[in-house]
Symmetry: D2
Subunit: 326 residues, 4 copies
């Protein structure tokens, strides 16, 4: 297929490259001329602006938008919606809020266009490993996109086959699924990230408990100086917590056992927050996913006011002094 790619950052550029490696043609647009040039060197056809890009695409025009979510993606989808010919397909492969997808899907449908949301996992490893994709959109459009989706997906690889999947959608085993109507792709990707936060925090708490067991204040005989890098490594073999996140933990700890390179201010993106919003909207208890998000919030704060309030109350009722040295 021939497809337009808008946004050639870390994700977009590699998506284009992986498509081209599979024999697809990419028309590339980015506000950075350099990024366009670099991709052109790898075989893409450069475009100067949206009009030029669309002009280089066959009917129906298919454009993959890979831009920062929020206003930038919103503006680009609107621009495309105004410029594309009927039957065209806008794919949002970024991290949009799924309710924005639902709205955009409705807006584009009114103009005879198709909107497809693709939640994409794989990060910096995607070019080589392939991208795990969760896709929302109408049946026919998603089927039409199959060649490019199959090219981007990791494929079956060496992952052990799950027994009992006879008769099920074979795409899942190739690493992509049609999750449902518009919005469903990003919804599933959102929950994926929510789970990811929870798993990461489970590891964070567990390793913290192991590290602090070496605390010199603990009684002799109950104090262990544990080798966290070796523990991460050994758990990779046959333990219940074996996982890609554990593999990455083992890599990080082998290279920097005390993680001295890191400051500990941990960012969070929209997905983690939206997952909790969905939980609340659906009345699902989500203590683990919430706590994982809150741990990141707290990691970026100095003492919040609320902690001072605790000290203030303690001072008032008990005379406990936790004031700052004057």
């Amino acid at each position: 297929m021939r497809i337009g790619i808008i946004g050639l950052g870390r994700m977009g550029g590699n998506i284009a490259r992986r498509l081209m490696r599979a024999g697809h043609e990419c028309v590339a647009l980015d506000r950075s001329a350099e990024a366009v040039k670099a991709l052109a060197a790898d075989g893409a056809e450069p475009a100067a602006d949206v009009a030029a890009l669309l002009a280089k695409l066959p009917q129906p025009q298919v454009v993959w938008v890979m831009l920062p979510s929020g206003e930038i993606t919103e503006a680009m989808v609107a621009e495309l919606a105004g410029a594309m010919r009927p039957g065209g397909v806008v794919i949002d492969g970024g991290n949009s809020f799924w309710k924005d997808d639902v709205r955009r899907g409705r807006e584009l449908r009114a103009k005879g266009l198709h909107y497809v949301d693709v939640g994409t996992s794989g990060g910096v490893w995607g070019l080589e490993r392939g991208y795990c994709m969760m896709i929302g959109g109408d049946e026919e459009t998603v089927r039409m996109l199959d060649p490019i989706l199959a090219a981007l997906a990791p494929g079956a690889g060496e992952v052990t086959r799950t027994p009992g999947r006879e008769g099920r959608d074979p795409r899942a085993e190739q690493g992509y699924i049609h999750a449902g109507p518009v919005g469903a792709g990003h919804f599933v990707k959102m929950v994926h990230n929510g789970i990811e936060y929870g798993m990461m925090q489970a590891f964070a708490e567990g390793f913290e408990i192991m590290r602090t067991r070496g605390d010199g204040a603990l009684p002799e005989g109950e104090r262990f100086d544990l080798d966290l890098a070796d523990i991460a490594e050994v758990w990779r073999r046959g333990s219940v917590v074996s996982s890609w996140l554990l593999d990455l933990t083992a890599i990080a700890l082998a290279g920097d056992p005390k993680l001295d390179a890191y400051g500990g201010n941990v960012a969070d993106s929209g997905e983690g927050r939206w997952t909790i919003q969905a939980a609340i909207e659906q009345a699902v208890p989500a203590n683990v996913l919430s706590a994982a998000l809150y741990a990141r919030f707290r990691s970026r704060q100095e003492h919040p006011f609320g902690e001072k309030l605790l000290s203030a109350m303690r001072f008032q009722f008990g005379g406990h002094v936790e004031t700052k040295p004057g």
Copy 2:
């Protein structure tokens, strides 16, 4: 009654004073000669050591121990157990772990002595307001102590009477209860503190949410600079959250609206931790009480290792850079 008091710190000294105001006689012992002298000036009979104190007490000897929990209390109870005459009563009014009470009760019983654990709430306000007490021990001993317990308790005061209490133990309305056998007093006090942590953290989070609503980055029209001191004050009248902790919050905020005096490192005592241990032992879900305890743990830390591990994983799978500036 004539009673020995060992430990004349903030709590012990005022307990002695409140007893003497009610006409009881106190024989006082403390490792600080000055504390003993100060209390003697208020009418107590000083004692130089345990033997001297016991010598000044009638049969059965009654001694109120008000020392820091842990080894110090443990040693004193052991010393008393070795020195008191049969029938004597050791009262532990401190913050002992209730399972230590159970064990001590057994040990003293074997020597013909009685052990009574008194969980005491009231802090620095107790001398004037009285002490709310939860008592563990055998029926007869607790009944024998009634005069001093009634003297220490707040009394009915101006608290509205609860309807439907006819036929119930009238002591509860005077501010003290016989909670059960040895250990039950400190167990109930422990849970009291666990709840206290939870309530405090509920206020802390709520006020933090109100304070951060004034954040300049929020959109105009959705940003409120709320007067937290006035809010605490207004909630004292007719709102569902009205409480003594709210009264104290109002006092603290009226005097120091930004709580600049406080650093935000919040201590925790044994009771909060033991409450969670009891929850776990009894398979009770206790997310709120646990989270309140953990918020205090976190308040005393710089970035834990676990947060760095989150950054390390994010770097590994997504190339997200959260390293420290080199």
Copy 3:
């Protein structure tokens, strides 16, 4: 003042009554003719519809809307906005989402009208105790409404005065505050409810820990059959957790110590959920308030799918059988 009241449910009817007791005049409207009649018997002037109600009000028209939040309130505010004369004031005393207030305020302002949001705490006790109110709106309008707000508020009562409030807004001590611009009233009330959930859950967990300590499976000597009604009562006097919620707990337990009347399906209203949304929007860690909300969600569920998934995983990796009896 003469004021219109729309919505004569438990809250609205009593608000009207409290206003009339203070000498204000109420024009009353409700879709239930009976409710109108009942209030008319107490001195209100009945109105058959919005037009009739407005016709009976002097300039500027002031209408207090006390309807279920959501669509019903939305529709009524819209109807009033279309029918009132310039300068009129719409008061939303219900439980609206504060961002809806912000929007409505903007819409009414465009029509020369004023919008005031009043967060009202006090429930069924408000008629006698007065209503604790947090108010959002423009300065001048709120000042104009002062007579009715002061009449509804609890007043200073017998609550101990907070030291250090000299020079602060005296309204807070009367039980009402002007929290800020439109939306601020419901925002503060929302957080109030969030805190309320947290405090309630702290009590719920604490009492559960005390109740389950009587479990027959626990070892003799470490098992306590605690009298929860007496414990609630004693804590009302001098303990740190003394609060209105504790007073209510004492009442409930005195009448029904095992709470056999209750099923345990606990509802939640919008405020608890919106509080978490605000926390997330503002990046505030709110583990306690979230956990309190989730406990209610869980209380209304049979086994969620997620719990079955835990069993399924345990079966898969460990052969642990937690299947249903066949």
Copy 4:
């Protein structure tokens, strides 16, 4: 090596089998004659009691105890300690509490014996996949046991090598580590299980959020009937949450998409609880690991008393009726 195995349940029997496959000799003891017979059929030498078993072992005697943790293991270790010749080694491969290990280690050392605690992960898959082991004990003893540990471990297998491990203990890559002195093995295994709980609950919450998105009460266009089996499958390829637990989830959902076979009462073992105790002892905030444990507690309850208390309070302050139908 020739080694005694006591306890031929699911774990113990397979450990013996895996050892014999590797050429080691096992002397087997179990209170079930049938279990002994079955293992003898696979090549083990049966023993009728501890004395007989010890008599069949060379110096130094090495016995692997694989019994239910708690009293049964305790009694067996004590019996062995009384019967073994100096220099003997008792290996506890079960799920003992690590502080019990520390104590037993001390006790056996006083008798000239060695104690080794082996935390073993692998469950029903261990016979084929090998057992991931975390070992506590003195350096020399653990080195002496290396042949049997290496035989039980999974080996390097096809797991990608972690870069940067040059110079580190090669055993970790074979699937076993010497974690530290006595107790360290079970401590690390305990934390492993704590993390396992957290990861499982992260999946449970995430899948619950996806499942409930199909709720018919949600607005059309925002409601998705997601195929959870396909989602689990697709995430196995290239996503951040890929893990063994996800593999097992995919297997479970492929066979029973609604998990109708499961009741949802989820057990918990000691490790999850002890992990929280360690967190509290070490002042580590562990909201995720705690919440995961509490979700299991709650899964096994009908409405706890605490939930009824919430309803009771709501009734008292708001007249909200959540009583049981009479």
